[in-house]
Every structure is written in C-alpha cells, then in structure tokens.
C-alpha cells in the first residue's frame, strides 16, 4: 500500500549530500604527484627542521617498497598516487591575529557547516581548531588554555613552538612504516592538530577540530598527536565534511594518542565525508590509522566514532594497553548506504596486567552497501587477569546490503577472559506499524529506531556532538525498510 518499502528507500537515498558546497578561496598548491621533491616542497613551505624532513623522507622510502593492503572487505579501482595534489593551502596574506582577519569566504564555509567560529567561541565554550585542506586556519581559545599549560594548536605550529615534544612522541604509536597508508601520511602529512595536557591538569573544555576537504584533486593527510601527561584528562572531538565531487578524493590520516600514568583521553569523532552519489560515483576514500597507547599504569583511552560518510572507510582505532590496570574502550556506529563500503573496527592489545577493554560496535547497512566489523583482541602472556567484552551488532535495512563480522581473538594466558557477542537484526514491519499507528511517519520511525539501536554508543559522545550525530543518522538512513 502506501508504505511501499522500495519507494521510501528510493526517496530517501536520493537525498542530496548537505555539505556538498565548494568554497572559492585562492589556493596555493604543490604540483601534482609524489616524489622526494614534493616532500621537500611541503617541508620547506612549513619551514620544518631538518629532522622532520628526514622523518618524511624515510617514510617515503619505506612507502615505495610497500604495497597497498588487500585484506579488507573493500573494492575500489586502483588509486593513482601521481594524480593527487599533496599540498593545498589558502593563500596567506599575513598572520591572523583575530577572527576578523579570517577570509570571509572561509567564515561563510564554517557557517554552512553549522560551526560558525564566532558562535562556537561565544556560546559553547568549545575550542575549535579548523583545518581546511592542509592548513590550520585559526585556533580559538588557545590563550585561555595556555594559562593552564595546555597546548592546543595546529601541528605545524607545534613543530615551531614545541619541537622537542613533537620529536619525542611523533611516530611512537604509529611507526612510519606501520602500514601503507601510514607511511604515505608520514611522508606527506600537511597539517593537523596537536594537543598536550600537562601533569595533573583536567582540560576544562571539550577540544574540537573540524576537517574539511575543499580543493579538487587534493588528498588530505592530516596528522594528530595528543599527549595526556600524568594524571591529566582531556576530551577531544573531531568532525569531518567534504564537498561533492565526481572524482574520488583520498584521505589518509593518522591520529596518535599517548596516555601517561593515570591519564585519561577521550576521543570522539563524527565522520561525514562525502559518500559519493547514489550510483556510487565520487566520494572520499578514507584510509585512516588511529591508535592510542596507555603507556602508564591506570591510564585510559576511549574512542567513540560515528561514521556516516566516505565512499570507503578503512579504519581501526586501536588501543595498546601497556601499563597495568589500563582501560581501552571503542564505541562505534558505522552507517553505510547506497554503494558505500566500510571495513572498520578496532584492535585491543593487552600487554599489562589487569587491563580491561570494551568494544561496542553497531553497524547499520542500507541500499547496496557493505559494512564490515573487523576486530582483534590480543591477550599477551604478561597480561594476566585481563578482560575484554565485545559486542558487535548489525542492523540491516533492505535486502541488497551486507553486514560482515571478522573478530580475531588471541589469548596467550589462562587467567584472562574474552567475551564476544554478536547479533544481526532488521527493522521489523511490526516496529514500523507500531510507530505509524502512533502517528509517526515511516521516515521518523526509522530515525527513532536507528538512534535507539545506536544509543549505547551515542551516549558516549559529548552533548554538542550527540545532537549532530543523531540528526546525521536519521538523515542518512530514514525510510529504509527491512
């Protein structure tokens, strides 16, 4: 009758990507292609010290000897790495001292994204470091944070301001030859965010970064380094969007987190890169390496991610539980629609005693998409009395999509406990009828049910993000009937 599932599905999946606008800002770009010259160009543009150039060149040489991984449940045409621009920056006129001096076009971009810096600064008390393509534009709130000794700035700035900290920790969690895309990033990373919380300091506000890919044919290779010194606490948020383009754009980022003794770092991200059109053309290829290390005893690292965008997502935010009594958490909602593909999950590597990890993964597939959870839980010999609990749920909307779970468990001691639970479900006609009968349209009902399904993860998000994430989930999926 009127609720023909196919019609609704069509209507909804034909919805336009909301963030698909393009900002016409004068850009300064490197020539296309990747070579030692490109890397020297980037390094020189950023006025980097010699050791950092060496770090890049080393990574590049390793990358040349590596091959693209093929083990993921993903399919895409080969990427031509010589056809990408590795550096694009808005042309700088002078140092920006206040928001008033930021390019009005840029401000307009932020307004469209719904993160007007002015508003954010005044109303929400969120410090924002906004990255468009390769250069961090303006970091707000830095002065307030500086009083507490907190350093929150763009990566390039950190290289100039606190080179010893960067040198000490860069590449210590994700070595430059960790994997193909990590090596690529280590060679050409352009900018990103840097965050250092000193001993015993609780960061009083949520730190937030927005990434946006703007220029055509540019890859975005940002690099984030977060260091929580002993006894510190920080909650860090990252959001991503990209304009609509026919061609695929590459995104290969690295995030490294170091938590020293008694420190806690909470990292949340809402990823809404352009997923491509409903025929599967265009969209971002998102190959990201995110890893944290609980280096000191009693430290904690928590990843929360809401993944709704990208044509391809390849991402496994992981925690190395090195210290004793450390805690690693991974909360994930991954949505795929149309022809999107996601292969995402986590690795929990238990090295210390009495370590504990929790994995909650909620996959939602619609359209013709494929959604895979891939996770590793490893209990080493020394990780006595450790525990892991994993729950991997899949929700299918429609009958042309796929959900896959690839859990790997390795235990080398007898005293640790690993639990894994998995479910697959569909939104039932009974649930939809029940909602409809209360006056709730099918679209709203799907949004409601999906948000309910993902609630365990969404409640981990900071308030500002939770609201955005809820809306995103509803927008990217409404109306898909099982």
């Amino acid at each position: 009758m009127e609720n023909d599932p196919n019609n609704i599905l069509d209507e909804v999946t034909s919805g336009e990507y909301k963030y698909g606008f393009y900002t016409d800002i004068e850009m300064e770009t490197a020539p296309k292609g990747l070579s030692e010259d490109t890397i020297r160009f980037i390094s020189a543009k950023k006025n980097e010290p010699e050791w950092l150039l060496e770090f890049r060149l080393n990574a590049y040489r390793k990358w040349l000897s590596m091959t693209e991984p093929t083990w993921a449940h993903l399919h895409h045409p080969p990427i031509n790495y010589q056809d990408i621009i590795y550096y694009a920056a808005p042309k700088k006129k002078k140092e920006l001292a206040s928001l008033d001096e930021v390019d009005p076009e840029l401000i307009e971009t932020f307004n469209k994204l719904g993160i007007s810096l002015e508003e954010q600064k005044r109303l929400s008390g969120v410090a924002v470091d906004a990255v468009i393509d390769s250069v961090s534009v303006k970091t707000t709130f830095s002065e307030t944070l500086e009083k507490q000794g907190i350093i929150f700035c763009s990566f390039s700035e950190a290289v100039q301001k606190v080179p010893e900290l960067v040198k000490q920790y860069l590449g210590t969690v994700v070595p430059s030859d960790d994997n193909y895309f990590a090596a690529l990033n280590s060679a050409v990373f352009s900018d990103g965010s840097f965050c250092y919380i000193p001993k015993g300091v609780r960061c009083p506000i949520e730190l937030s970064t927005y990434f946006r890919i703007n220029a055509a044919n540019t890859g975005q290779f940002e690099r984030t380094l977060i260091i929580g010194d002993e006894g510190s606490y920080v909650s860090y948020m990252e959001g991503c969007t990209a304009p609509m383009r026919d061609e695929n754009q590459l995104h290969a980022a690295i995030v490294e987190i170091i938590a020293l003794k008694d420190a806690e770092v909470k990292y949340s991200t809402v990823q809404n890169w352009y997923p491509g059109n409903k025929k599967g053309e265009g969209g971002i290829y998102n190959f990201v390496t995110k890893r944290g290390i609980c280096k000191g005893n009693n430290s904690k690292i928590s990843w929360t991610q809401v993944e709704t965008g990208s044509a391809i997502t390849w991402k496994y935010p992981s925690v190395v539980l090195m210290g004793d009594n450390t805690v690693g958490e991974f909360y994930s909602v991954a949505v795929t629609n149309n022809y999107q593909q996601a292969d995402t999950g986590t690795k929990m590597i238990h090295l210390g005693r009495n370590t504990k990890s929790t994995i909650i993964s909620k996959g939602i597939s619609a359209g013709q998409s494929n959604n895979s959870y891939r996770g590793l839980v490893k209990m080493t010999k020394r990780a006595l009395n450790s525990r892991n609990f994993s729950q991997c749920d899949s929700l299918l909307l429609g009958d042309k999509c796929g959900a896959h779970t690839f859990p790997y468990i390795k235990t080398e001691n007898q005293s640790s406990i690993v639990e894994h639970e998995a479910t697959t479900s569909k939104i039932s006609d009974d649930q939809l009828f029940y909602c409809n009968q209360r006056g709730i349209s099918t679209e709203s009902a799907i949004g409601l049910i999906v948000n309910g399904y993902a609630r365990e993860v969404l409640k981990q998000l900071p308030m500002e993000f939770a609201v955005e994430a809820q809306k995103l989930l509803a927008i990217s999926l409404e109306g898909s009937v099982g």
């Binding site: 609720n3 009968q437 349209s441 049910i449």
Partner: protein
C-alpha cells in the same frame, strides 16, 4: 463517528472479514466478542491500516473521512488509536522520546508547532499520576523487558497522552492478572468522555465487568452475528460460544 459498511478483507487470498457493518457514536463504548480466529484482531488491524490485509469491498468512514485512503500515520493523527495485543519492543528508544515524537508528529499533521518541552513533561506527569504509573517507566525503552502487565499499562498511558477520538483495545485483558486488569480498566474509565469512543475487543466477559459497554457485538466467522446491550456479554459467558456457533 465511525461507520463501517459491508467491509470484506482477506489475507493471502483467505477471506477473514466477510461483510462487517458497525456504527459507533461519540461517547459510546462498544465491545466485540467472539471465539478465537473469527477476525476480531483483523478488524482492529484493518481499521488502523495494517497493509498485510487486502480490502476486497466496503468502506470505513471516520468523522466524515474515508479511512481506507489514508496511510496508517494519518489515521492515527485523525484520532484512531490501537492498543496492541502484543506491543512490540523498540530497544534504546525511551518512552518519553517515543511519545514526544508521536505527539509532535500528530501536531505537525494538524499544522501545529511542536509542544514546548515543559508543557510536554507536565502532561506526562499528569497522565502518569492519573494512571498510577511509576515515574521510572517513562525512562525505560519502549516495551523492552516489560512484563505483560507493564506493556498493557504502557499502551493505556500512550492512549492517555495522545487523546484519540476512537480507541481500539485489542485483547487488552489477555495475559493480565486481576490487579493489572483493574489498573488498566480504571485508566480507560477515567479517559471516557462524551466526545470520544472505545471499541473493546475481548475474548472474555471479565474485562467488561470493569469497562462497562453500551453495546456488545458478537463476531463469528467474519461477520457480526448478534448485537445487544451489556447483558449479551453475560449470556455469552453463561452459554459459551457454542451457542452462537449453533445459531450461526
């Protein structure tokens, strides 16, 4: 208020309703009784608009509008409420959130702005008090892990919140102990008004001791074979459905 004429409906080619005629006026409570499998729940589902049933013939006019041309959610917004025999679980969705969505979608249908949050919460409190429902119920997920009694109380709570013109109670008494039955029946009685109506579907006369009907219909083999006052329910209870079967 509700006028059903010669309604025939089938599922998978099998005819379930074979010519139903029913008139319900504002202020009335109608009961539909009958043995299992005679089409009682089908009638409720067809009025609400469940699309697994094929309408072969007939019409359902509700307050001057042709219900059969409306999607389920519009019928609900027009004032049809179905208290489900088996309410479904919606994990992770709180009753508060569920009800707020329902109330506001119905308001949107009528061209009204969403209800302000404080007004909504005050209404929730009022209805909970009226129905003697524990505060914490509202924070739980819709029907998730609820006992049979809790599910039915939750249905009546939603009924109170949405204030429909016509409430259909589909076997609301099934699976209830006598205390829960009283709570549910008391709730319904408090919600009776001159401008609304109830259609109570039940297998047993027991519920009708508490919700006293104006008119009782006996449904048998897809047709209403007999209608009468509340004494008809007593008669059925005494003689059993065999009596009807013999007559039909």
């Amino acid at each position: 208020m509700l006028s059903i004429k010669n309604l025939r409906a089938s599922i998978n080619g099998k005819e379930i309703l074979r010519g139903i005629n029913l008139e319900i006026r504002p202020g009335e409570v109608h009961a539909i009784m009958g043995p299992n499998g005679t089409g009682k729940s089908t009638l409720a589902s067809v009025i609400a608009g469940r699309d697994i049933f094929e309408i072969e013939e007939g019409e359902i006019i509700f307050r001057g509008k042709n219900l059969l041309e409306m999607p389920v959610e519009d019928r609900a917004s027009e004032g049809i409420f179905l208290s489900f025999q088996y309410p479904v679980e919606i994990p992770g969705v709180s009753i508060t959130n569920f009800m707020r969505t329902a109330v506001n979608e119905q308001r949107k249908y009528h061209g009204l702005d969403p209800m302000p949050a404080n007004e909504f919460l005050a209404k929730m409190e009022e209805k909970k008090r009226m129905l003697d429902i524990h505060a914490k119920l509202a924070n739980r997920s819709v029907n998730e892990g609820f006992s049979g009694g809790e599910k039915k109380k939750n249905e009546i709570f939603q009924l109170a919140m949405l204030e429909p013109a016509l409430a259909i109670l589909d076997e609301t008494d099934s699976g209830l102990d006598i205390d829960a039955l009283k709570v549910v029946a008391n709730g319904v009685n408090k919600l009776r008004r001159p401008d609304n109506a109830f259609l109570v579907i039940t297998h047993y006369q027991r519920l009708l001791d508490y919700i006293v009907p104006d008119i009782v219909h006996v449904l048998f083999d897809g047709r209403i074979v007999r209608s009468g006052g509340k004494e008809l329910a007593m008669e059925l209870e005494e003689k059993g459905y065999e009596w009807i079967r013999a007559e039909a």
